[in-house]
Protein backbone atom coordinates (compact mmCIF):
# COMPACT_ATOMS: atom_id res chain seq x y z
CA UNK A 1 0.00 0.00 0.00
CA UNK A 2 1.21 3.49 -0.89
CA UNK A 3 0.33 6.39 1.36
CA UNK A 4 1.50 9.96 2.00
CA UNK A 5 1.25 9.22 5.71
CA UNK A 6 4.11 7.92 7.84
CA UNK A 7 3.97 4.45 9.37
CA UNK A 8 3.36 6.04 12.79
CA UNK A 9 0.44 8.09 11.48
CA UNK A 10 -1.08 5.01 9.93
CA UNK A 11 -0.58 3.05 13.13
CA UNK A 12 -2.35 5.72 15.22
CA UNK A 13 -5.05 6.00 12.58
CA UNK A 14 -5.67 2.28 12.62
CA UNK A 15 -5.51 1.93 16.39
CA UNK A 16 -6.06 5.34 17.95
CA UNK A 17 -5.19 5.63 21.65
CA UNK A 18 -7.45 7.20 24.29
CA UNK A 19 -10.55 7.22 22.14
CA UNK A 20 -13.95 7.92 23.64
CA UNK A 21 -15.77 10.14 26.06
CA UNK A 22 -15.17 10.78 29.78
CA UNK A 23 -18.36 10.98 31.82
CA UNK A 24 -18.41 14.11 33.98
CA UNK A 25 -15.11 15.44 32.67
CA UNK A 26 -13.32 18.22 34.53
CA UNK A 27 -12.70 19.99 31.26
CA UNK A 28 -13.94 19.50 27.73
CA UNK A 29 -13.93 21.22 24.37
CA UNK A 30 -15.05 20.69 20.79
CA UNK A 31 -13.16 22.27 17.93
CA UNK A 32 -14.00 22.38 14.25
CA UNK A 33 -17.24 21.44 12.56
CA UNK A 34 -18.48 19.21 9.75
CA UNK A 35 -18.29 22.26 7.51
CA UNK A 36 -14.53 22.51 7.78
CA UNK A 37 -14.36 18.76 7.35
CA UNK A 38 -12.91 17.91 10.72
CA UNK A 39 -14.12 17.99 14.26
CA UNK A 40 -12.46 16.91 17.46
CA UNK A 41 -13.75 16.67 21.04
CA UNK A 42 -11.31 16.47 23.96
CA UNK A 43 -12.21 15.45 27.53
CA UNK A 44 -9.88 15.70 30.53
CA UNK A 45 -9.82 14.60 34.14
CA UNK A 46 -7.53 16.66 36.32
CA UNK A 47 -6.01 15.80 39.71
CA UNK A 48 -7.17 18.75 41.85
CA UNK A 49 -3.98 18.81 43.95
CA UNK A 50 -1.20 18.27 41.46
CA UNK A 51 -3.07 19.72 38.47
CA UNK A 52 -1.94 16.72 36.49
CA UNK A 53 -4.03 15.41 33.63
CA UNK A 54 -4.99 12.05 35.10
CA UNK A 55 -7.12 10.95 32.18
CA UNK A 56 -7.74 12.24 28.69
CA UNK A 57 -9.91 11.02 25.85
CA UNK A 58 -10.83 12.29 22.42
CA UNK A 59 -13.38 11.76 19.69
CA UNK A 60 -12.81 12.61 16.06
CA UNK A 61 -14.88 13.23 12.98
CA UNK A 62 -12.18 13.71 10.44
CA UNK A 63 -9.47 12.45 8.20
CA UNK A 64 -6.50 10.30 9.10
CA UNK A 65 -4.27 13.16 10.22
CA UNK A 66 -6.98 14.46 12.52
CA UNK A 67 -7.47 11.06 14.12
CA UNK A 68 -3.73 10.37 14.41
CA UNK A 69 -3.02 13.80 15.92
CA UNK A 70 -5.85 13.33 18.42
CA UNK A 71 -4.30 10.04 19.40
CA UNK A 72 -0.75 11.38 19.76
CA UNK A 73 -1.63 14.54 21.71
CA UNK A 74 -3.65 12.56 24.23
CA UNK A 75 -0.58 10.35 24.68
CA UNK A 76 1.69 13.39 25.03
CA UNK A 77 -0.64 15.18 27.46
CA UNK A 78 -1.48 12.27 29.76
CA UNK A 79 0.20 12.65 33.13
CA UNK A 80 1.50 16.12 32.38
CA UNK A 81 0.50 19.17 34.41
CA UNK A 82 -1.92 21.57 32.78
CA UNK A 83 0.85 24.11 32.28
CA UNK A 84 3.05 21.53 30.58
CA UNK A 85 0.24 20.20 28.43
CA UNK A 86 -0.69 23.68 27.29
CA UNK A 87 2.74 24.06 25.77
CA UNK A 88 2.53 21.02 23.53
CA UNK A 89 2.90 22.36 20.02
CA UNK A 90 1.72 21.16 16.67
CA UNK A 91 5.36 20.64 15.72
CA UNK A 92 5.91 18.28 18.65
CA UNK A 93 2.82 16.31 17.74
CA UNK A 94 3.88 16.20 14.11
CA UNK A 95 7.41 15.09 15.04
CA UNK A 96 6.06 12.38 17.31
CA UNK A 97 4.02 11.12 14.35
CA UNK A 98 7.03 11.08 12.04
CA UNK A 99 5.77 14.11 10.14
CA UNK A 100 2.46 15.03 8.53
CA UNK A 101 1.69 16.07 4.95
CA UNK A 102 1.73 19.86 4.72
CA UNK A 103 -1.75 20.08 3.23
CA UNK A 104 -3.08 18.33 6.32
CA UNK A 105 -1.78 20.90 8.80
CA UNK A 106 -5.23 22.37 9.35
CA UNK A 107 -6.79 19.04 10.29
CA UNK A 108 -4.05 18.24 12.76
CA UNK A 109 -3.83 21.71 14.34
CA UNK A 110 -7.47 21.22 15.31
CA UNK A 111 -6.53 18.48 17.79
CA UNK A 112 -3.97 20.76 19.47
CA UNK A 113 -6.57 23.50 19.67
CA UNK A 114 -8.98 20.99 21.18
CA UNK A 115 -6.50 20.09 23.91
CA UNK A 116 -5.77 23.73 24.73
CA UNK A 117 -9.47 24.61 24.74
CA UNK A 118 -10.24 21.70 27.09
CA UNK A 119 -7.53 22.94 29.48
CA UNK A 120 -8.86 26.48 29.24
CA UNK A 121 -12.34 25.16 29.92
CA UNK A 122 -11.04 23.49 33.09
CA UNK A 123 -9.21 26.62 34.24
CA UNK A 124 -12.22 28.80 33.71
CA UNK A 125 -14.47 26.44 35.61
CA UNK A 126 -12.03 26.28 38.50
CA UNK A 127 -11.11 29.93 38.75
CA UNK A 128 -7.58 29.34 37.54
CA UNK A 129 -7.45 31.93 34.79
CA UNK A 130 -4.33 33.90 35.53
CA UNK A 131 -4.57 36.86 33.22
CA UNK A 132 -8.05 38.01 33.87
CA UNK A 133 -9.24 40.25 31.10
CA UNK A 134 -12.77 41.55 31.29
CA UNK A 135 -15.30 39.86 29.06
CA UNK A 136 -16.51 42.02 26.21
CA UNK A 137 -19.09 41.55 23.48
CA UNK A 138 -16.16 40.72 21.19
CA UNK A 139 -14.95 37.95 23.50
CA UNK A 140 -18.45 36.46 23.53
CA UNK A 141 -18.78 36.77 19.77
CA UNK A 142 -15.45 34.99 19.35
CA UNK A 143 -16.68 32.12 21.49
CA UNK A 144 -19.93 31.91 19.56
CA UNK A 145 -17.85 31.40 16.46
CA UNK A 146 -16.95 28.05 17.96
CA UNK A 147 -20.58 26.97 18.19
CA UNK A 148 -21.80 25.14 15.15
CA UNK A 149 -25.09 25.82 13.45
CA UNK A 150 -26.19 22.23 12.77
CA UNK A 151 -28.41 23.38 9.92
CA UNK A 152 -25.49 24.37 7.73
CA UNK A 153 -22.46 22.99 9.49
CA UNK A 154 -21.00 26.49 9.74
CA UNK A 155 -20.72 28.52 12.95
CA UNK A 156 -23.51 30.60 14.48
CA UNK A 157 -21.89 33.94 13.75
CA UNK A 158 -21.08 33.21 10.14
CA UNK A 159 -24.61 32.00 9.46
CA UNK A 160 -26.13 35.11 11.08
CA UNK A 161 -27.95 33.16 13.75
CA UNK A 162 -26.70 35.49 16.49
CA UNK A 163 -29.15 38.33 16.36
CA UNK A 164 -27.85 40.23 19.34
CA UNK A 165 -25.54 39.99 22.33
CA UNK A 166 -26.28 42.06 25.42
CA UNK A 167 -23.72 42.30 28.24
CA UNK A 168 -24.47 44.15 31.47
CA UNK A 169 -22.90 43.72 34.93
CA UNK A 170 -21.69 40.22 34.15
CA UNK A 171 -25.05 39.15 32.80
CA UNK A 172 -25.06 37.94 29.22
CA UNK A 173 -28.08 37.67 26.96
CA UNK A 174 -27.66 36.03 23.55
CA UNK A 175 -30.50 36.25 21.09
CA UNK A 176 -30.59 33.45 18.54
CA UNK A 177 -32.51 34.03 15.35
CA UNK A 178 -34.49 30.77 15.42
CA UNK A 179 -37.86 29.81 16.85
CA UNK A 180 -37.56 28.10 20.23
CA UNK A 181 -39.48 25.15 18.80
CA UNK A 182 -36.78 24.53 16.18
CA UNK A 183 -35.36 21.02 16.35
CA UNK A 184 -31.82 22.32 16.92
CA UNK A 185 -32.73 25.03 19.44
CA UNK A 186 -32.00 22.95 22.57
CA UNK A 187 -28.65 21.75 21.20
CA UNK A 188 -27.59 25.28 20.25
CA UNK A 189 -28.68 26.59 23.63
CA UNK A 190 -26.68 23.98 25.48
CA UNK A 191 -23.57 24.63 23.42
CA UNK A 192 -23.77 28.40 23.82
CA UNK A 193 -24.16 28.03 27.60
CA UNK A 194 -21.15 25.75 27.69
CA UNK A 195 -19.00 28.26 25.85
CA UNK A 196 -20.03 31.42 27.71
CA UNK A 197 -20.75 30.30 31.29
CA UNK A 198 -17.15 29.43 32.19
CA UNK A 199 -15.93 33.00 31.55
CA UNK A 200 -14.63 34.16 34.93
CA UNK A 201 -16.61 37.39 35.21
CA UNK A 202 -19.87 36.10 33.74
CA UNK A 203 -22.51 35.59 36.42
CA UNK A 204 -25.48 34.64 34.35
CA UNK A 205 -26.18 33.53 30.78
CA UNK A 206 -29.58 33.76 29.19
CA UNK A 207 -30.40 32.47 25.71
CA UNK A 208 -33.45 33.85 23.98
CA UNK A 209 -34.94 32.74 20.71
CA UNK A 210 -36.74 35.01 18.33
CA UNK A 211 -39.92 32.97 18.00
Amino acid sequence: MKSPYSETVLEHFRHPHNVGKIDNPDGKATEGSPACGDMVAVYIKVDPDTKNISDIKFESYGCASNIATGSIITELAKGKTLDEAKKITWQEASDALGGLPKIKTHCSVLAIEGLRAAIQNYEERHGLVKEKTATTIEVIRKRLKKVMNPISGLDLVRTNLVKDIVLKDGRVRVIIDLPESHQFAPAIKEEVMEKIEPLWDVKEVKIDFTG
Partner: protein, 394 residues
Protein backbone atom coordinates in the same frame (compact mmCIF):
# COMPACT_ATOMS: atom_id res chain seq x y z
CA UNK B 1 -3.57 -6.12 4.45
CA UNK B 2 -4.20 -8.26 1.42
CA UNK B 3 -2.14 -8.60 -1.71
CA UNK B 4 -5.02 -8.68 -4.12
CA UNK B 5 -6.29 -5.19 -4.71
CA UNK B 6 -9.94 -4.71 -5.56
CA UNK B 7 -10.40 -1.75 -7.84
CA UNK B 8 -13.77 -0.02 -7.54
CA UNK B 9 -12.98 3.39 -9.02
CA UNK B 10 -13.79 2.70 -12.67
CA UNK B 11 -15.33 6.13 -13.22
CA UNK B 12 -11.87 7.61 -12.60
CA UNK B 13 -10.23 5.23 -15.05
CA UNK B 14 -10.30 1.57 -15.99
CA UNK B 15 -7.91 -1.30 -16.58
CA UNK B 16 -7.04 -1.68 -20.24
CA UNK B 17 -8.50 -4.76 -21.92
CA UNK B 18 -5.74 -7.01 -23.30
CA UNK B 19 -7.62 -7.34 -26.56
CA UNK B 20 -7.45 -3.56 -26.95
CA UNK B 21 -3.72 -3.57 -26.37
CA UNK B 22 -3.35 -6.33 -28.92
CA UNK B 23 -5.24 -4.31 -31.51
CA UNK B 24 -3.09 -1.25 -30.79
CA UNK B 25 0.32 -2.94 -30.89
CA UNK B 26 0.87 -3.00 -34.67
CA UNK B 27 0.44 0.78 -34.74
CA UNK B 28 3.39 1.24 -32.41
CA UNK B 29 5.78 -1.18 -34.10
CA UNK B 30 4.73 -1.66 -37.72
CA UNK B 31 2.34 0.98 -38.96
CA UNK B 32 3.83 3.86 -36.97
CA UNK B 33 3.88 6.31 -39.81
CA UNK B 34 1.85 9.48 -39.82
CA UNK B 35 -1.52 9.15 -41.56
CA UNK B 36 -0.77 10.42 -45.01
CA UNK B 37 -2.86 11.08 -48.08
CA UNK B 38 -3.57 8.18 -50.40
CA UNK B 39 -0.83 9.47 -52.72
CA UNK B 40 2.00 8.88 -50.27
CA UNK B 41 3.77 5.66 -49.18
CA UNK B 42 2.31 2.33 -48.05
CA UNK B 43 2.84 2.73 -44.27
CA UNK B 44 1.22 6.14 -44.32
CA UNK B 45 -1.71 4.91 -46.38
CA UNK B 46 -2.17 1.99 -43.98
CA UNK B 47 -2.10 4.36 -41.03
CA UNK B 48 -4.72 6.52 -42.74
CA UNK B 49 -6.92 3.49 -43.34
CA UNK B 50 -6.66 2.42 -39.71
CA UNK B 51 -7.62 5.90 -38.55
CA UNK B 52 -10.56 6.02 -40.95
CA UNK B 53 -11.74 2.62 -39.85
CA UNK B 54 -11.57 3.57 -36.16
CA UNK B 55 -13.42 6.80 -36.87
CA UNK B 56 -16.10 4.87 -38.75
CA UNK B 57 -16.69 2.58 -35.77
CA UNK B 58 -16.91 5.49 -33.32
CA UNK B 59 -19.22 7.49 -35.56
CA UNK B 60 -21.50 4.54 -36.18
CA UNK B 61 -21.80 3.88 -32.46
CA UNK B 62 -23.12 7.42 -32.04
CA UNK B 63 -25.40 7.27 -35.08
CA UNK B 64 -23.18 9.81 -36.84
CA UNK B 65 -21.32 10.21 -40.11
CA UNK B 66 -17.54 9.79 -39.94
CA UNK B 67 -17.04 13.47 -40.79
CA UNK B 68 -18.97 14.36 -37.65
CA UNK B 69 -16.53 12.65 -35.28
CA UNK B 70 -13.09 13.98 -34.37
CA UNK B 71 -10.51 12.41 -32.15
CA UNK B 72 -9.13 14.40 -29.21
CA UNK B 73 -6.74 13.73 -26.35
CA UNK B 74 -9.64 12.83 -24.05
CA UNK B 75 -12.89 13.95 -22.51
CA UNK B 76 -11.37 17.08 -20.99
CA UNK B 77 -10.21 18.35 -24.35
CA UNK B 78 -13.50 17.40 -26.02
CA UNK B 79 -15.58 19.41 -23.56
CA UNK B 80 -13.19 22.37 -23.66
CA UNK B 81 -13.40 22.26 -27.42
CA UNK B 82 -17.20 22.08 -27.46
CA UNK B 83 -17.74 25.07 -25.19
CA UNK B 84 -14.88 27.23 -26.45
CA UNK B 85 -15.29 26.23 -30.09
CA UNK B 86 -18.93 27.30 -30.11
CA UNK B 87 -18.24 30.41 -28.02
CA UNK B 88 -15.46 31.50 -30.37
CA UNK B 89 -17.70 30.95 -33.36
CA UNK B 90 -20.95 32.47 -32.11
CA UNK B 91 -19.90 34.86 -29.33
CA UNK B 92 -19.71 37.85 -31.63
CA UNK B 93 -22.38 36.78 -34.12
CA UNK B 94 -25.22 35.58 -31.91
CA UNK B 95 -24.70 36.21 -28.23
CA UNK B 96 -22.66 35.58 -25.14
CA UNK B 97 -24.91 33.44 -23.00
CA UNK B 98 -24.18 29.84 -22.05
CA UNK B 99 -26.13 27.47 -19.82
CA UNK B 100 -24.54 24.59 -17.90
CA UNK B 101 -25.85 22.49 -15.03
CA UNK B 102 -24.45 23.08 -11.57
CA UNK B 103 -23.17 19.54 -11.28
CA UNK B 104 -21.20 19.27 -14.53
CA UNK B 105 -17.76 17.74 -14.42
CA UNK B 106 -14.84 20.17 -14.22
CA UNK B 107 -13.97 20.36 -17.93
CA UNK B 108 -17.40 21.85 -18.67
CA UNK B 109 -17.70 23.83 -15.46
CA UNK B 110 -14.26 25.40 -15.66
CA UNK B 111 -14.55 26.07 -19.39
CA UNK B 112 -17.76 27.98 -18.59
CA UNK B 113 -15.97 29.87 -15.84
CA UNK B 114 -13.10 30.70 -18.18
CA UNK B 115 -15.57 32.06 -20.74
CA UNK B 116 -17.25 34.05 -17.98
CA UNK B 117 -13.94 35.77 -17.32
CA UNK B 118 -13.87 36.70 -21.00
CA UNK B 119 -17.23 38.41 -20.89
CA UNK B 120 -19.67 35.57 -21.46
CA UNK B 121 -22.68 35.23 -19.18
CA UNK B 122 -23.23 31.78 -17.70
CA UNK B 123 -26.38 30.38 -16.12
CA UNK B 124 -25.71 27.52 -13.74
CA UNK B 125 -28.82 25.39 -13.92
CA UNK B 126 -30.27 23.97 -10.70
CA UNK B 127 -30.78 20.26 -10.24
CA UNK B 128 -33.21 18.53 -7.89
CA UNK B 129 -32.36 16.35 -4.90
CA UNK B 130 -31.59 13.41 -7.17
CA UNK B 131 -29.52 15.42 -9.61
CA UNK B 132 -32.08 15.87 -12.39
CA UNK B 133 -31.71 19.20 -14.20
CA UNK B 134 -34.55 21.66 -13.76
CA UNK B 135 -36.09 21.81 -17.22
CA UNK B 136 -38.48 24.65 -16.37
CA UNK B 137 -35.50 26.75 -15.39
CA UNK B 138 -33.82 25.68 -18.63
CA UNK B 139 -36.81 26.83 -20.71
CA UNK B 140 -36.89 30.15 -18.90
CA UNK B 141 -33.16 30.69 -19.12
CA UNK B 142 -32.75 30.29 -22.88
CA UNK B 143 -32.92 33.64 -24.65
CA UNK B 144 -31.98 35.05 -28.04
CA UNK B 145 -28.48 35.48 -26.67
CA UNK B 146 -28.05 31.83 -25.64
CA UNK B 147 -25.59 30.09 -27.90
CA UNK B 148 -25.00 26.81 -26.07
CA UNK B 149 -26.51 24.58 -23.42
CA UNK B 150 -24.15 22.00 -21.92
CA UNK B 151 -25.77 19.34 -19.75
CA UNK B 152 -24.09 16.03 -19.07
CA UNK B 153 -25.63 12.72 -20.05
CA UNK B 154 -24.83 11.25 -16.64
CA UNK B 155 -23.10 12.59 -13.59
CA UNK B 156 -19.51 11.63 -12.80
CA UNK B 157 -20.11 11.24 -9.06
CA UNK B 158 -23.71 10.25 -8.44
CA UNK B 159 -24.47 8.61 -11.79
CA UNK B 160 -27.80 10.36 -12.39
CA UNK B 161 -28.82 10.12 -16.06
CA UNK B 162 -30.43 13.24 -17.53
CA UNK B 163 -33.32 13.21 -19.96
CA UNK B 164 -31.19 14.48 -22.81
CA UNK B 165 -33.92 13.87 -25.39
CA UNK B 166 -36.16 16.37 -23.60
CA UNK B 167 -33.27 18.79 -23.06
CA UNK B 168 -32.26 18.54 -26.71
CA UNK B 169 -35.81 19.18 -27.84
CA UNK B 170 -36.08 22.30 -25.69
CA UNK B 171 -32.77 23.59 -27.05
CA UNK B 172 -33.78 22.85 -30.62
CA UNK B 173 -37.12 24.65 -30.19
CA UNK B 174 -35.45 27.66 -28.67
CA UNK B 175 -32.60 27.78 -31.12
CA UNK B 176 -29.67 27.01 -28.82
CA UNK B 177 -26.98 24.42 -29.52
CA UNK B 178 -26.78 21.47 -27.13
CA UNK B 179 -23.62 19.75 -25.91
CA UNK B 180 -23.64 16.71 -23.66
CA UNK B 181 -20.71 15.18 -21.79
CA UNK B 182 -21.27 11.45 -22.25
CA UNK B 183 -17.99 10.35 -20.63
CA UNK B 184 -19.83 8.21 -18.08
CA UNK B 185 -22.58 6.83 -20.32
CA UNK B 186 -20.77 6.09 -23.55
CA UNK B 187 -21.49 2.44 -24.45
CA UNK B 188 -23.18 1.94 -21.07
CA UNK B 189 -26.42 3.68 -22.10
CA UNK B 190 -27.48 4.05 -25.74
CA UNK B 191 -26.95 7.47 -27.28
CA UNK B 192 -27.91 7.97 -30.90
CA UNK B 193 -27.38 11.38 -32.45
CA UNK B 194 -29.72 10.31 -35.22
CA UNK B 195 -32.58 10.16 -32.73
CA UNK B 196 -31.69 12.71 -30.09
CA UNK B 197 -31.37 16.39 -31.00
CA UNK B 198 -27.86 16.86 -29.66
CA UNK B 199 -25.21 18.89 -31.46
CA UNK B 200 -22.02 17.99 -29.63
CA UNK B 201 -21.09 14.90 -27.61
CA UNK B 202 -18.00 14.31 -25.48
CA UNK B 203 -16.76 10.72 -25.24
CA UNK B 204 -13.66 9.08 -23.82
CA UNK B 205 -11.88 5.73 -24.12
CA UNK B 206 -10.38 5.25 -20.69
CA UNK B 207 -13.73 4.79 -18.92
CA UNK B 208 -14.56 1.71 -21.05
CA UNK B 209 -11.29 -0.24 -20.71
CA UNK B 210 -9.67 1.63 -23.58
CA UNK B 211 -6.39 3.51 -23.45
CA UNK B 212 -5.83 6.83 -21.70
CA UNK B 213 -5.10 9.92 -23.78
CA UNK B 214 -7.75 9.42 -26.43
CA UNK B 215 -11.28 10.76 -26.61
CA UNK B 216 -13.62 12.19 -29.16
CA UNK B 217 -16.08 14.89 -29.95
CA UNK B 218 -19.16 14.45 -32.07
CA UNK B 219 -19.98 17.66 -33.93
CA UNK B 220 -23.26 17.58 -35.83
CA UNK B 221 -22.87 18.63 -39.44
CA UNK B 222 -23.42 22.37 -39.85
CA UNK B 223 -22.73 23.22 -36.20
CA UNK B 224 -20.97 26.59 -35.96
CA UNK B 225 -17.58 25.70 -34.57
CA UNK B 226 -14.26 27.51 -34.44
CA UNK B 227 -10.92 25.75 -34.51
CA UNK B 228 -8.53 26.81 -31.77
CA UNK B 229 -5.81 24.18 -31.90
CA UNK B 230 -3.76 25.44 -34.83
CA UNK B 231 -0.86 23.85 -36.64
CA UNK B 232 -2.21 21.50 -39.28
CA UNK B 233 -5.25 20.35 -41.19
CA UNK B 234 -5.94 17.13 -39.28
CA UNK B 235 -9.39 16.04 -38.16
CA UNK B 236 -11.21 17.81 -40.99
CA UNK B 237 -9.29 20.97 -40.19
CA UNK B 238 -10.92 21.17 -36.76
CA UNK B 239 -8.05 20.07 -34.54
CA UNK B 240 -4.39 20.30 -35.49
CA UNK B 241 -1.89 17.75 -34.24
CA UNK B 242 -0.44 14.39 -35.16
CA UNK B 243 -3.16 11.78 -35.02
CA UNK B 244 -2.94 9.28 -32.16
CA UNK B 245 -3.50 6.25 -34.32
CA UNK B 246 -2.78 3.51 -31.74
CA UNK B 247 -5.14 5.41 -29.42
CA UNK B 248 -7.86 5.69 -32.06
CA UNK B 249 -7.56 1.99 -32.89
CA UNK B 250 -7.69 1.13 -29.18
CA UNK B 251 -10.70 3.39 -28.65
CA UNK B 252 -12.59 1.66 -31.48
CA UNK B 253 -11.59 -1.73 -30.10
CA UNK B 254 -12.80 -0.80 -26.61
CA UNK B 255 -16.13 0.40 -27.99
CA UNK B 256 -16.77 -2.92 -29.69
CA UNK B 257 -16.00 -4.93 -26.56
CA UNK B 258 -18.74 -3.41 -24.41
CA UNK B 259 -21.85 -5.56 -24.58
CA UNK B 260 -25.43 -5.25 -23.38
CA UNK B 261 -24.83 -8.35 -21.23
CA UNK B 262 -21.92 -6.67 -19.52
CA UNK B 263 -24.02 -3.61 -18.75
CA UNK B 264 -26.76 -5.82 -17.35
CA UNK B 265 -24.25 -7.63 -15.16
CA UNK B 266 -22.85 -4.34 -13.83
CA UNK B 267 -26.33 -3.06 -13.13
CA UNK B 268 -27.22 -6.16 -11.13
CA UNK B 269 -24.02 -5.75 -9.12
CA UNK B 270 -24.77 -2.04 -8.62
CA UNK B 271 -28.25 -2.80 -7.33
CA UNK B 272 -27.00 -5.48 -4.99
CA UNK B 273 -24.43 -3.10 -3.46
CA UNK B 274 -26.94 -0.28 -3.07
CA UNK B 275 -29.63 -2.52 -1.59
CA UNK B 276 -27.26 -4.20 0.81
CA UNK B 277 -25.65 -1.00 2.07
CA UNK B 278 -28.93 0.82 2.59
CA UNK B 279 -30.40 -2.21 4.37
CA UNK B 280 -27.39 -3.29 6.42
CA UNK B 281 -25.64 -0.06 7.39
CA UNK B 282 -27.72 2.45 9.39
CA UNK B 283 -27.70 6.20 8.71
CA UNK B 284 -26.87 6.00 5.03
CA UNK B 285 -28.24 8.10 2.16
CA UNK B 286 -28.15 7.17 -1.51
CA UNK B 287 -26.84 10.03 -3.61
CA UNK B 288 -28.36 10.30 -7.06
CA UNK B 289 -31.41 8.77 -8.70
CA UNK B 290 -32.37 5.22 -7.78
CA UNK B 291 -33.42 4.19 -11.32
CA UNK B 292 -32.16 6.87 -13.72
CA UNK B 293 -28.62 5.88 -12.99
CA UNK B 294 -25.65 4.55 -14.98
CA UNK B 295 -25.26 0.79 -14.45
CA UNK B 296 -21.78 1.08 -12.95
CA UNK B 297 -22.30 3.76 -10.26
CA UNK B 298 -22.96 3.57 -6.52
CA UNK B 299 -22.72 6.69 -4.36
CA UNK B 300 -23.77 6.64 -0.73
CA UNK B 301 -23.19 8.99 2.20
CA UNK B 302 -22.30 7.46 5.53
CA UNK B 303 -23.36 9.94 8.14
CA UNK B 304 -21.20 11.00 11.10
CA UNK B 305 -17.95 9.86 9.46
CA UNK B 306 -15.49 11.45 7.07
CA UNK B 307 -14.72 10.00 3.66
CA UNK B 308 -10.93 10.18 3.60
CA UNK B 309 -10.80 8.04 6.73
CA UNK B 310 -13.16 5.55 5.09
CA UNK B 311 -11.10 5.38 1.89
CA UNK B 312 -7.84 4.99 3.82
CA UNK B 313 -9.24 2.17 5.92
CA UNK B 314 -10.56 0.52 2.77
CA UNK B 315 -7.21 0.98 1.03
CA UNK B 316 -5.55 -0.80 3.95
CA UNK B 317 -7.94 -3.67 3.27
CA UNK B 318 -7.20 -3.61 -0.45
CA UNK B 319 -10.19 -1.68 -1.83
CA UNK B 320 -9.92 1.40 -4.05
CA UNK B 321 -12.94 3.72 -3.89
CA UNK B 322 -13.46 7.46 -4.13
CA UNK B 323 -15.10 10.09 -1.88
CA UNK B 324 -16.58 13.57 -2.19
CA UNK B 325 -14.83 14.63 1.00
CA UNK B 326 -12.75 17.80 0.98
CA UNK B 327 -9.89 15.97 2.69
CA UNK B 328 -9.55 13.52 -0.18
CA UNK B 329 -9.17 16.16 -2.86
CA UNK B 330 -6.11 18.20 -3.60
CA UNK B 331 -8.26 21.34 -3.68
CA UNK B 332 -9.68 20.69 -0.20
CA UNK B 333 -13.14 21.41 -1.58
CA UNK B 334 -16.06 19.14 -0.79
CA UNK B 335 -18.03 17.70 -3.70
CA UNK B 336 -19.85 20.40 -5.69
CA UNK B 337 -22.21 17.67 -6.88
CA UNK B 338 -23.41 16.78 -3.38
CA UNK B 339 -23.82 20.47 -2.54
CA UNK B 340 -25.60 20.88 -5.89
CA UNK B 341 -28.24 18.30 -5.00
CA UNK B 342 -28.83 20.10 -1.71
CA UNK B 343 -26.56 18.02 0.50
CA UNK B 344 -24.78 19.60 3.45
CA UNK B 345 -21.08 19.40 4.32
CA UNK B 346 -21.48 16.28 6.38
CA UNK B 347 -23.19 14.49 3.49
CA UNK B 348 -20.45 15.55 1.08
CA UNK B 349 -17.61 14.60 3.43
CA UNK B 350 -19.17 11.21 4.16
CA UNK B 351 -19.96 10.29 0.55
CA UNK B 352 -18.33 7.22 -0.99
CA UNK B 353 -18.39 6.44 -4.69
CA UNK B 354 -18.02 2.86 -5.92
CA UNK B 355 -17.82 2.46 -9.68
CA UNK B 356 -17.77 -0.94 -11.34
CA UNK B 357 -16.06 -2.24 -14.43
CA UNK B 358 -15.47 -5.32 -16.56
CA UNK B 359 -13.06 -6.94 -14.13
CA UNK B 360 -15.21 -6.73 -11.00
CA UNK B 361 -16.94 -9.88 -9.88
CA UNK B 362 -19.88 -10.16 -7.49
CA UNK B 363 -17.70 -11.61 -4.71
CA UNK B 364 -15.74 -8.35 -4.72
CA UNK B 365 -18.94 -6.34 -4.44
CA UNK B 366 -19.99 -8.36 -1.41
CA UNK B 367 -16.55 -8.08 0.13
CA UNK B 368 -16.66 -4.30 -0.34
CA UNK B 369 -20.01 -4.01 1.41
CA UNK B 370 -18.69 -6.12 4.29
CA UNK B 371 -15.54 -4.01 4.60
CA UNK B 372 -17.53 -0.78 4.44
CA UNK B 373 -19.86 -1.96 7.20
CA UNK B 374 -16.88 -2.71 9.45
CA UNK B 375 -14.97 0.47 8.68
CA UNK B 376 -17.97 2.76 9.09
CA UNK B 377 -18.85 1.11 12.40
CA UNK B 378 -15.31 1.55 13.65
CA UNK B 379 -15.13 5.22 12.63
CA UNK B 380 -18.54 5.97 14.09
CA UNK B 381 -17.41 4.58 17.41
CA UNK B 382 -14.78 7.32 17.64
CA UNK B 383 -16.88 10.12 16.12
CA UNK B 384 -18.37 12.83 18.31
CA UNK B 385 -21.29 13.11 15.86
CA UNK B 386 -24.48 11.09 15.82
CA UNK B 387 -24.11 9.71 19.35
CA UNK B 388 -27.60 10.78 20.48
CA UNK B 389 -29.05 8.93 17.52
CA UNK B 390 -27.15 5.77 18.33
CA UNK B 391 -28.27 5.86 21.95
CA UNK B 392 -31.87 6.23 20.82
CA UNK B 393 -31.50 3.21 18.60
CA UNK B 394 -30.11 1.09 21.42
Amino acid sequence: MQDKRIYLDNAASTRLDERVLEAMQPYFFDTYAVATSEFAYTQGIEAREALDEARGILAKTLGADPEEFIFTSGGTESSNMALKGVALSLGKKKGKHIIVSKIEDFPVLQSAEALERQGFRVTYLDVDGEGMANLDMLRESISEETILVSIQHANQEIGTVQDIAAIGTICREKGALFHTDATHTFRRIPLDAGKIPVDLITVSAHTIHGPKGIGGLYIRQGTPFAKWMDGGFQEFDRRAGLENIPGAVGFAGAVELVTAEENKRLQAMRDRIIDRILAEIPDTTLNGHRRKRVPQNVNISFHYVEGESITLHLDMRGFAVSTGSACFSRSLQGSHVIYGIGGDHERAHGSIRITLGRYNISEEADAAVQALAEVVKELRSISPLGKERQVEEE
